[in-house]
């Protein structure tokens, strides 16, 4: 069928007919995009603006009142210049530690898996199957995926029991569950897929002849990886990192559940303040968190043009 190609309609014939409806098509485009734009306006732009406004309001136990005070921000950074830092800075440092650890694990892991799928799996069907295998757990509840660690990591869990029966340890290891370790483990468990997908997308677009060329020019496997593949994968790495940074920075569920409600995180502070109806304080916290996240992302987006990646 392919060799029976129809001649392309000449542009000159189509142009006069298309000229009149073009204006209509333009206005139609506005109509088609409007609902989506409206949703973002009502549920993203306005809420964020209100958050910024309310962060300057005053509050007591009963009510919040419109004002223009910097008190909420002053409270937030109260005592930050002292030697043992303030709660806010310590909370941010703890959250940043989780970001760094999660990135340090998910990035090489995500890259290895994406590389394996893109370059080493030869059949498209197998690739699709394995890819689905990686994304299916993403479709079940995060809460369920987190409680799944309890029977494994608990004091009498599978890991401790196995180690004990092998005679490697006498007393159960206490810090497996409800610890920093558990939090990072859960982050890696939940977020690696956000690294795999964009990196895989970048790898899949690499022209294979570039790799052949590198090999023909005498590059070793590692040199090809480092000098050809890795630079071309930068956009995917950046997008994956942006996802991981936002997910970990704003998290309050994972840190709460896997940390046994003992580890502080910025998201959790906001949640607690909301529960106590201290909205202006929560809003000020949210503004600072947003600024911190945007700053980190700004650094990452310098590397890429997001629109071109799709």
């Amino acid at each position: 069928m392919n060799d029976l190609t129809l001649p392309r309609p000449a542009e000159t014939v189509a142009a006069p007919v298309a000229a009149a409806p073009r204006a209509r098509r333009r206005s139609l485009a506005y109509l088609q995009a409007a609902p989506l734009g409206l949703v973002f306006l009502v549920f993203l732009v306005v809420p964020l603006l209100l958050t910024a406004v309310v962060s300057f309001w005053e509050y007591n136990e009963y009510a919040i009142t419109p004002a223009l005070t910097l008190q909420n921000y002053a409270d937030l950074f109260d005592g930050c210049l002292s030697a043992d830092l303030c709660t806010t800075i310590r909370t941010y440092l703890s959250t940043l530690k989780f970001v760094a650890l999660t990135l340090a694990i998910t990035l090489p892991l995500g890259f290895s898996i994406a590389y394996f799928l893109a370059f080493h799996v030869r059949s498209d069907t197998v690739r699709m199957g394995l890819f689905l295998l990686c994304t299916i757990p993403f479709w079940t509840s995060n809460v369920i995926r987190m409680i799944s660690w309890i029977p494994l990591l608990g004091r009498n869990g599978l890991v401790n029991d196995t180690l004990r029966s092998l005679g490697l340890i006498r007393a159960p290891i206490e810090g497996l569950l409800y610890s920093d370790f558990a939090v990072v483990l859960a982050f890696v468990h939940l977020d690696t897929v956000f690294m795999i997908v964009p990196i895989f997308n970048s790898l899949a677009r690499i022209d294979r002849s570039l790799i052949e060329a590198a090999r023909d020019c005498g590059a070793s496997g590692f040199q090809t990886l480092w000098n050809v593949v890795l630079p071309l994968t930068k956009p995917g790495i950046a997008i994956g990192s942006i996802f991981v940074v936002t997910l970990v920075m704003g998290d309050f569920v994972t840190v709460g559940m896997m940390g046994g409600q003992q580890i502080a995180s910025v998201g959790k502070v906001i949640q607690v303040q909301m529960a106590y109806l201290q909205f202006p304080a929560a809003a000020a916290n949210a503004v600072v968190l947003l600024a911190a996240v945007l700053l980190m992302i700004l650094g990452l987006t310098r590397m890429i043009d997001l629109r071109r990646e799709l």
């Binding site: 989506l36 306006l41 809460v143």
Partner: protein, 297 residues
């Protein structure tokens, strides 16, 4: 690329296998433990095999009406799914034609993804609280009867729906971009040349060709909404969705009932995804069959 497989292949294959084990291991553990015998605890060993905990779950978990929460999550998920597919599809069409402000809308969609969920949730919560306060102030000032017993605008199909859409729509839009980038305009031109109106082209040409991708967007919309927790948390009002109830239960329920609940919700997600994937395959087969039938004289 077809060279003999070397050390790198086996190393990476090993990493991949370990990752899959890491990914599925915990879920399989609670799947097994949810069939724990009546006297069994939260960890191994299994004290017999039974469906005891599923039966207990069926009777209800403490004071929480888990089935009502499931129904709420299901309804919300279906509404979010329908809106995500429709809005993302039309927005995709609009972006294809191009319009002034397209860059701004795209930037909004991306921001919606990267603003931390807790911030979005807090913002929407604040928005609705301020709206309620304004209505109450108005009621006091004017004395209008119909405003007097205003409770709150917050609810499943207002603030929670909005919160979910800020999460599902960007994904939907990005998928539509990827789909439209691979969609040849020649089909539409052909339809136009044959005299089809815009609506006819959409109905008989574009939608049928994109049907599998649209099912994919629907699937994404539903599952993202069904499991969404962070964005819902501050924007839901009184009645919780299933993930929120689940999170609450993890601290209070100390029996394998919680695993039974986990298994049930996972099975539920799997059922929805399986149905959608089945539908996609069926759509593609049907299209292929029709195309073949069309070729016969």
């Amino acid at each position: 690329m077809d060279r003999p497989r070397g050390f790198a292949f086996y190393g990476l294959a090993g990493i991949f296998c370990l990752y899959v084990l890491f990914l599925y291991g915990p879920t399989l553990t609670i799947l097994t433990l949810s069939f724990q015998g009546p006297s069994g605890g939260l960890t191994f060993p299994m004290n017999g095999v039974s469906t005891h905990w599923f039966a207990k779950l069926w009777e209800g978990v403490g004071v929480v009406d888990i089935w009502a929460a499931l129904r709420r999550s299901l309804m919300l998920g279906l509404v979010v799914m329908a809106l995500t597919v429709t809005l993302a599809f039309y927005a995709g069409l609009a972006f294809r034609k191009g319009f002034a402000g397209a860059g701004l809308v795209f930037a909004l969609a991306v921001s919606s993804l990267i603003v931390p969920s807790i911030v979005v949730s807090l913002g929407i919560g604040l928005e609705f609280r301020l709206l309620d306060d304004a209505v109450k102030a108005l009621a006091e000032a004017t004395g209008w009867g119909f405003l007097q017993d205003h409770g709150t605008f917050m609810g499943l199909f207002t603030s929670a729906l909005g919160a979910h859409l800020t999460w599902t729509l960007p994904f939907g839009l990005l998928i539509m971009f990827a789909v439209f980038n691979r969609f040849s305009p020649a089909y539409e031109e052909a339809a136009r040349d044959l005299g089809a109106t815009g609506a006819q082209t959409l109905r008989h040409v574009v939608v049928p060709i994109l049907a599998p991708a649209l099912v994919g967007v629907a699937l994404f919309g539903f599952t993202l909404s069904f499991d969404e927790l962070a964005r819902t948390s501050q924007a839901i009002g009184g009645r919780n969705t299933l993930p929120l109830e689940l999170q609450g239960l993890t601290t209070t329920v100390t029996t394998p009932e919680i695993y039974a609940l986990g298994t049930t919700t996972t099975a539920f997600s799997a059922l929805v995804i399986g149905t959608a994937l089945g539908l996609t395959v069926w759509l593609q087969r049907r299209r292929a069959r029709r195309a073949l039938a069309g070729l016969r004289p």
